[in-house]
Every structure is written in structure tokens, then in C-alpha cells.
Amino acid sequence: MSVLPPFELHRPTSIEEVVELISWDDLPYVGGTELLLAMRAGLLNPRSLIDLKGVAEITGVRAHNGAVRIGAAVTHQQAATTEVISEKLPELPPVLLHVGNPRVRWSGTLAGNLCFAEPKSDVIPFLIALDATVTLVSADGSREMSVREFIIGPYFTARTEHELLAWIDIPVVPGRRGTYLKYQVMERPTVGVAAVRLDEGDSTITRVVVGAAGEVPVVHDVDHAHPDRSAVATAVVDALEPIDDLTGSSDYKRHVTAVYVERALEKLERM
């Protein structure tokens, strides 16, 4: 069994301490679910790891300003079983139970998933569909941006060197319905489809976000509660830029994306 390269460990207890330490060579972690694998594979070789588990401000989930605020140290399992989420964001827990396997869900975090920007993430498309935002904190202050803006490309985010993704805010929208369906043969999905329906003023928006098939999620909004499924699928596939990989060729990904967009919309209609 290969080993981890050497590194130092920091255990800060406040965000201030974290942002003093954080850099491209000093990486925050909670479970290390993806980070430790990348380090063992020689893809990352940080000088130090910064344990976020002792930073009280980011270890919990709470209601905040019409949103649910999920701290950076909150694991998938913790989020999936927290009361405030079950009450206010009932559409989220079933999606979190799609992530990896129970061990990954117990140690991996939503924030880590976002920062890693793995193109086959199950969480990212759904968070985009829910209009989630992230708050990035540095010694100079903080800024908020949508998850959609945050994910720039595969393994590439808008986070700068000395910023910490402190929390994720997911707006609570009464009457919103959402689902996530994925097609997965290998360890990671070929395509993942988030579908959400919400009322916006007089109209109803149906939003489809497709992950895994391309390098960045494709977002498609339709101003209709029950849009023509096949038309949406065609539009999404037109916008998709799939790549050939072990989960399928680009042709096949286009095809199953259309199939799963339709299946997700069909499921959403029943919700």
C-alpha cells in the first residue's frame, strides 16, 4: 500500500486562524475524502493540512436569513440527517444519499465536494439547481457567490489562494420540488440530472442541471411547470459538451443524458 507524503498539521479553532494559514500549499480538510487520495497519488503535495473540524463557526447547520446555512465542516451524512434540513430542505437528503458510499458520506463534506470541483460530483448539479451560494472568507473580508459561478471547470473553482469556503447557503423556497436521478454503471456517474420546479412570482420555473456527462454542469431553465420533456432534453443535449471517458463515449453520453433528463422531469411532474 502506497503511503501519504509528509506534511504538517494545523488545528485552528477559528476562521481567523484558518485564513491566516490557508494557501495553495496549506490546504483545509475535514475528512480528506478526496484530498488524501490525491496526495497518495502524488497529484497534491501540500506543506500542511488545516483541520477544520475544530472551527466551531463552520461545524453546524442552521437557518439563516431565509436560507439554510451549511458549515464547511458538515459531512454529507450529518447534513442528510439534520433536523433543520429535513424540515426546510426535504429535497436535499435523498440526493446526499447518492454520494459515494456510507463511509464517504460520514467523512466527506459538501464544501469539500464543491472545492474539489470533481466533474462527476452528485452534489454540485443539485446545489446549482437550488440556487445555492458559497461564502468565501479571507483575511481581507468575505464574498458570496453562486455555486454556479464558483464552479469554473473540472477541478477548478473561483476560490483564490487565501480564501476559505466557510459555508454554503441554500435558499428555502416554499413549494419548491426537486429531484436528482443519475445513470451510473461505473464507480462514478455517466450522467446526473437535477430537476427542480419552483414558483417565481406569477410563473413557474422548471430547471434542469446536468452533471457528470460534461466537464461543467449544464443549466437549463424553462418558464413552465410541465415543459415538453423531449424539447428540454434536446436543448440540454445541445448545450452539453461531453467528453469520451470510461463512463461512456460522447455519443452515448448525449443519448443517456436525453433519456435521464426526460426521466427526471417525469419524476418531477409526479412530485
Binding site: 500500500m1 480528506g32 488524501l36 487520495l37 497518495r40 459515494g100 458510499n101 456510507p102 463511509r103 467523512s107
Partner: protein, 154 residues
């Protein structure tokens, strides 16, 4: 750095290099070799141990992260020499062959049954999605866990 932990009910204080994984700590330092290593990528499950009752992949979990926690490995399951009902069910159902994946499956089963004492067969299958057995074809393992749940919660 020095970590303080409780392993299988026994307090342990040990200085360890920070880059050690939990698997290296329990196998190499504590001699608890029942925890196995295989894929190294959190997909096979042979290294599953419980940290404060939650399952983790010891191959990809820092040993320093069990500082202040309770760790349960396969060696901590049998009570004074008598098998845990999950272990007994694995024996009775021929739910193992080479046995290399067995500690991981049993620890995952423990975690599942702690969370959900009477899982359906589908619950079991879903929960074991991150555990690989190359010998048995899984069916006897699933049977054993369903049977264990009935033995434990009649």
C-alpha cells in the same frame, strides 16, 4: 504528535507521525491486523472501522483524526470470546471464503444495524455498495446480515 483514543474499549495514548493513516495506526502500531487494506480508494471497504460509531475507510482516514474518539475494529466486536450475532450469522451462512473482505463487511453491517435495526434486503444491498467481495457472489453476505438483524431484534 500524540493522540489519545480509546480502541476497542482500551485507552491508548501514542505518539505518531501525522501522515499515518488510521489503518497504519491500528495495524502497525497496535497490531490489530484484522483490519485489511486493498483498493486504497474507499471503494472496497475492507479497511472499515468505526470511529465514534461511524464507519470510515481506515486506509484514507488520518490517524490524528481519531484523537479524542472511540475506535472499534473487528477485534473489538466479539464479547469475551463469544461471537457477535453478526459474526455468528456470517459463520452460519458461509458468508465468507477467503475472508479478506469479511472484517470490513462485518463492521459495515454493525454500522447499518446500529442505524437501522431491521433493514430490508434492499437497504442492506444499498448500504453495502461500497464493499467488495470477490469470492462469494454477495448473496450469502446479504442473507447473513438480514438474519443477524432478526437475531438481534427479534
Amino acid at each position: 504528535m500524540t493522540i489519545r483514543t480509546v480502541v476497542n474499549g482500551r485507552p491508548v495514548t501514542e505518539p505518531i507521525p501525522v501522515r499515518w493513516t488510521l489503518a497504519e495506526f491500528v495495524r502497525d502500531r497496535l497490531g490489530l491486523t484484522g483490519t485489511k487494506l486493498s483498493c486504497g480508494m474507499q471503494v472496497c471497504g475492507v479497511c472499515t472501522v468505526l470511529v465514534d460509531g461511524r464507519p470510515v475507510s481506515a486506509c484514507s482516514y488520518l490517524a490524528v483524526d481519531v484523537d479524542g474518539c472511540e475506535v472499534t475494529t473487528i477485534e473489538g466486536l466479539a464479547d469475551a470470546g463469544s461471537l457477535h450475532p453478526i459474526q455468528a450469522a456470517f459463520v452460519d451462512h458461509f458468508a465468507l471464503q477467503c475472508g479478506f473482505c469479511t472484517p470490513g463487511f462485518i463492521m459495515m453491517a454493525k454500522s447499518l444495524l446500529d442505524e437501522n435495526p431491521r433493514p430490508t434486503r434492499k437497504d442492506v444491498v444499498d448500504y453495502l455498495d461500497g464493499n467488495i467481495c470477490r469470492c462469494t457472489g454477495y448473496q450469502p453476505i446479504i442473507d447473513a446480515i438480514v438474519d443477524a438483524s432478526e437475531r438481534m431484534t427479534p
